[in-house]
């Protein structure tokens, strides 16, 4: 074990920076803290691969073609539940262009959702493979099924899983979540979280609000579908081009499936067309893509490419589970006194329908909390992690319920949150946002419009985000290499999902060596460049940037020794200027001159991120890492005649540790807000109860937000110096989408004075909330259980 030393760092955030001692290994540089002034890191640097992406030259997995390659297509179950009686591949094998056919499911096996793998074909052209699927003859025995969450909870429902189900967990899942109790019917409880005693809490409450909140299934809908290209390089080695957000998970899964050593599976993801949590592993959550492509390639003895089409992407590559949350809140003396949430959600045949940490982790001053969530199994494609799994669902229900309780107690929503949240950064964001957003005036205006019963109403809402700095120790190993020609290579096998990690790594290199950005060559997206993390849990930047910085600093120590030798001074006397020129004594040597003196090819050093050091200013409850804070304010305009809701403005205030690249960071936050707005107002997977299939597996009836639907987005960065690692980076991908839908739902409540407790907030639901739909009663507004004082 390396020796450690103590470093005193200035940690915290603007207006609240304190000295704190952290223990770092001797091999590590002094972590960047509040006093560190950086020249390249943090600046709005355009992404280094931008010119390739705008010129069509970036080759994504979908674009790769290798000589002799075949195209694969998969026959999928048309039935939500069936037993396969027989599969006849004979006729398919004789179709034009067909080179290999395999059964993926065996006779006798049970299929549990429409879209599950049955058989697969590889042919010279993609249309030949798809055509040949029609010639596979399968006899199915249809079985009872259930696709709706409520139906699956009824006592006489069809049973989806008769045996305990194995959880499929990925790096996309939030660390510290998961696990489950005994399956009863189709329902499996998730581990409850509890604080205090809610029974006592409600007894002591003066006001009780109770209602059910419903969220829909959302599909990831990354533009590049799932898929991969497998080339066997020998009997014991393969190259895999994969559309993945976790290169090393693909490598390990392929090695496992085909009995190879993981070093002999070479995975390439040079460019990736989005993932959002669904692209971990060689298999998609609901399809054994890696096995299919690898097996067909083995059989045909040529490379095979398998890319899903949009229909497959919707039905078998994962989704955000739905939820039905019974929320009960108790208020006492103007404060939130008890929170109880019982949730049931379906991840289809899969697991993971939790509802995040908002209730337990954010409003920590509420003394009594109990959250009980359940997975409900249905015959639908499996859910999987999706950008902040569970959190947007949980935030929507809790935050809207809080506003309903607050309305009954006559408490302002911002004040309500300030009163119960102990995170100093979120409190600062709330206070700053209240001013910047013009909260008070806007609230007054919405109340005025409500009172005048105007056709167009405006409303505002606010909601909070909680996430952890899940950066992982030792998972990423980076290499820095200084070449004799003065170029610097930074290598790590991380994939760039679109967040711009490659650009940030170049910035780190440029910062450490005082060299122009264009002299730093980043090698990434390939397993050969050294182990790395998956782009999940918002952990990429905080895992990889410290490893790269540490590698660069080590290489710089060697380069400094070389400079000292040339300048004939002690290494401690060498000073580097902004051009990368080394000075010592009365002489100096430029970076290029110095590099020419390198013995052999290059100076090489590796680095990793040993562990998390500090967690200023506040850890995640019950965990040792920095708690990432975020607050969003939203404004909506609602047409009370048509029921149409438009999100007009979002103010997003976020902490992501030390900012690495302000430009790409703003892009990511915009993206989180836009995804959240889309979830709030438009998206919904529709499964037909009578067919058991998805009715909108496309991009015209599965609606995602377009350019004209985007609110005006104002991003405020509240930088935090966490001391967690050598760069101080934390994540932003997930925190930025957590509160959006909640804030929009709260804004709709403010506009109408009546809550819409179901997502997406469609015109029909708005009109129902206004009591304008015959036969549908208005939702009852908060119960004054004891009728006592507010």
């Amino acid at each position: 074990m390396p020796d450690n030393r103590k470093e005193t760092l200035k940690l915290g955030f603007e207006g609240n920076v304190r000295k704190q001692s952290v223990t770092v290994p001797d091999s590590e540089p002094r972590p960047w803290d509040a006093d560190t002034k950086l020249k390249v890191v943090g600046k709005p640097v355009p992404r280094i691969d931008g010119h390739l992406k705008v010129s069509g030259r970036a080759k994504y997995t979908f674009d790769i073609a290798v000589p002799g390659m075949l195209w694969a297509a998969v026959l999928r179950s048309p039935h939500p539940a069936a037993r396969i009686k027989s599969i006849d591949l004979g006729a398919a094998k004789k179709q034009p262009g067909v080179k290999a056919v395999i059964a993926v499911a065996e006779p006798g096996s049970v299929l549990r959702f429409a879209g599950q793998d049955v058989a697969a074909i590889a042919a010279d052209r993609p249309e030949q493979a798809r055509d040949a699927l029609d010639h596979i003859v399968v006899e199915y025995e249809q079985l009872p099924y259930v696709v709706d969450t409520e139906g699956a909870m009824r006592p006489k429902s069809a049973i989806v899983h008769s045996a305990p189900i194995k959880e499929r967990r990925t790096e996309g899942d939030e660390p510290g979540t998961g696990g489950g109790g005994t399956l009863q019917g189709n329902v499996r409880p998730l581990p409850p979280s509890q604080r205090g005693d809610t029974a006592k809490g409600f007894k002591e409450s003066q006001v009780v609000h109770e209602a059910t909140y419903i969220t829909q299934v959302q599909t990831h809908s990354a533009l590049e579908t799932h898929g991969l290209l497998v080339r066997w390089d020998s009997d014991s080695a393969m190259t895999v081009w994969a559309s993945t957000q976790a290169i090393f998970s693909v490598r390990d899964e392929m090695a496992g499936i085909f009995g190879l050593r993981s070093q002999d599976v070479h995975v390439i993801t040079d460019y990736l067309g989005g993932g959002f949590g669904a692209k971990f592993g060689a298999s998609a959550p609901g399809s054994r893509l890696g096995f299919i492509a690898g097996e067909l390639a083995k059989k045909a003895k040529v490379p095979v490419k398998l890319m899903c089409d949009r229909h497959e992407e919707h039905v078998c590559t994962g989704n955000r589970p739905d939820s039905r949350q019974k929320v009960k809140l108790g208020g006492r003396k103007g404060l939130l006194h008890a929170i109880e949430i019982e949730s049931h959600g379906t991840a289809g045949v899969g697991t993971g329908a939790g509802i995040g940490r908002n209730a337990t982790g954010i409003y920590t001053k509420c003394p009594h909390v109990l959250v009980k969530a359940h997975d409900v199994f249905t015959n639908g494609g499996p859910g999987t992690a999706m950008r902040a799994p569970g959190h947007p669902q949980g935030a929507f229900a809790l935050e809207l319920a809080m506003d309903e309780l607050g309305a009954a107690m006559d408490i302002d929503p911002v004040q309500m949150r300030l009163d119960h949240d102990e995170h100093p950064v979120r409190k600062k964001q709330l206070e700053h946002g209240r001013e910047r957003f013009g909260w008070v005036e806007r609230r007054r205006r919405s109340a005025d419009m409500r009172a005048r019963k105007t056709r167009l109403r405006r409303g505002v809402g606010v909601a909070a985000s909680i996430w952890g700095d899940f950066g992982r120790g030792r998972a990423a190993v980076a290499t820095a290499e200084i070449h004799r020609d003065g170029t610097i290579e930074v290598k790590n096998g991380v994939q760039d999902i679109g967040g711009g990690i490659a650009t940030v790594l170049a910035q780190i290199g440029a910062e450490v060596f005082h060299r122009p950005l264009e002299t730093i060559r980043v090698r990434y997206g390939r397993s050969e460049f050294g182990s790395s993390v998956g782009s999940g849990g918002s952990q990429t930047t905080s895992s990889v940037t410290p490893a790269v910085r540490n590698a660069c600093e080590k290489a710089k120590v060697e380069l400094t020794a070389l400079a000292a030798e040339r300048l004939k001074v002690d290494p401690s006397k060498v000073r580097w200027d902004d051009e990368g020129t080394a000075h010592g004594g009365d002489s100096s040597i430029t970076f290029t001159q110095l590099c020419k003196k390198i013995e052999g090819e290059s100076i090489v050093a590796t680095g990793t991120r040993p562990r998390t050091y500090g967690n200023a200013p506040l850890p995640l409850p019950g965990a040792p890492m920095h708690q990432i804070a975020g607050i969003q304010f939203a404004e909506v305009e609602v047409d009370t005649w048509t029921g149409e809701v438009r999100a007009t403005e979002v103010l997003a205030l976020h902490d992501c540790g030390r900012v690495m690249n302000e430009l790409t960071l703003r892009s990511q936050i915009n993206g989180g807000v836009i995804l959240g707005t889309s979830y709030a107002l438009m998206e919904e997977r529709v499964l037909d109860n009578d067919l058991g299939r998805m009715l909108n597996p496309n991009l015209e009836s599965y609606k995602i937000l377009g350019a004209r639907d985007v609110p005006k987005i104002d991003v405020v960065l509240t930088e935090v110096y966490t001391g967690a690692n050598s760069t101080g980076a934390a994540g932003i991908g997930e925190p930025s989408t957590i509160p959006t839908a909640a804030a929009i739902a709260c804004a709709v409540f403010d506009a109408l004075g009546a809550p819409v407790r179901q997502l997406p907030i469609t015109p029909a639901r708005v009109l129902a909330a206004l009591g304008k739909v015959p036969g549908k009663s208005k939702p009852s507004v908060t119960t004054l259980a004891k009728g006592t004082s507010r």
Binding site: P46, V54, S55, L75, S221, L223, T225, G671, G672, L699
Partner: protein
């Protein structure tokens, strides 16, 4: 038989029959074709194509290309599979996302919704044809500067929409965010780059004195 009930564009083409298909390949006085692009002449055009691959010639990014594809092959498939031009992306493959946009005789078109043989003799420009050699167009450079892309999978379609907007926008008339949002209203992006796309186009328009 296996049961496949989904309606696909390809299945629809097949159902319509090759004769109808070919007649639709031949340009009449449709509204979308150029008025006098007379490369396909009714007298000399083959009466019927397929089902086997037939020769196809058109201009791709200013260069004449020749290939041979089945009549059912879409322009998107021909570009990507037969001509290794992978800038246009496959996302929905049914005309709802605009990731496969190309410019055909000056108009932006979804290449997944056109048959390859429909561009016989016509000019097709893909994202690969927007730069002058290594020199990015002003719009492409503005996309990079404003970070109007994240994963980049919608980017080629966005660039085609916005290039077309800049070309058709009346000279001297101010370009507004609404113009840009209208132009890209059919371009779906999942990373959420829309605001930066608008900023990039406004800057590129400004360089021409239109913002």
């Amino acid at each position: 038989m296996s049961e496949r009930t989904k309606l696909t564009r390809r299945g629809l083409f097949r159902g319509v029959g090759t004769a109808t298909l070919v007649s639709s390949c031949v340009r009449g006085n449709g509204t979308e074709g150029p008025p006098d692009g007379a490369a396909v002449d009714d007298a000399t055009a083959p009466a019927e194509l397929g089902p086997d691959p037939s020769p196809l010639r058109f201009s791709l990014n200013g260069t004449p290309v020749e290939t041979s594809v089945e009549p059912r092959t879409t322009l998107l498939e021909a570009l990507r599979i037969d001509l290794d031009t992978t800038g246009p992306k496959v996302v929905c493959d049914r005309g709802s996302c605009s990731a496969c946009l190309v410019i055909v005789d000056g108009l932006p078109r979804n290449s997944c919704m056109m048959l390859a043989h429909d561009v016989a003799g016509r000019d097709v420009t893909t994202v690969e044809g927007l730069a002058e050699g290594e020199e990015l167009s002003a719009l492409q450079a503005a996309f990079v500067k404003h970070d109007a892309l994240q994963c980049g999978f919608c980017t080629s379609g966005m660039l085609i929409s916005c290039t077309s907007l800049l070309r058709r926008h009346p000279k001297g008339e101010a370009m507004t965010a609404e113009h840009v949002e209208d132009a890209i209203s059919g371009n779906l992006c999942r990373c959420g780059t829309y605001p930066h796309v608008v900023a990039a186009v406004l800057e590129a328009a400004g360089q021409r004195g239109e913002a």
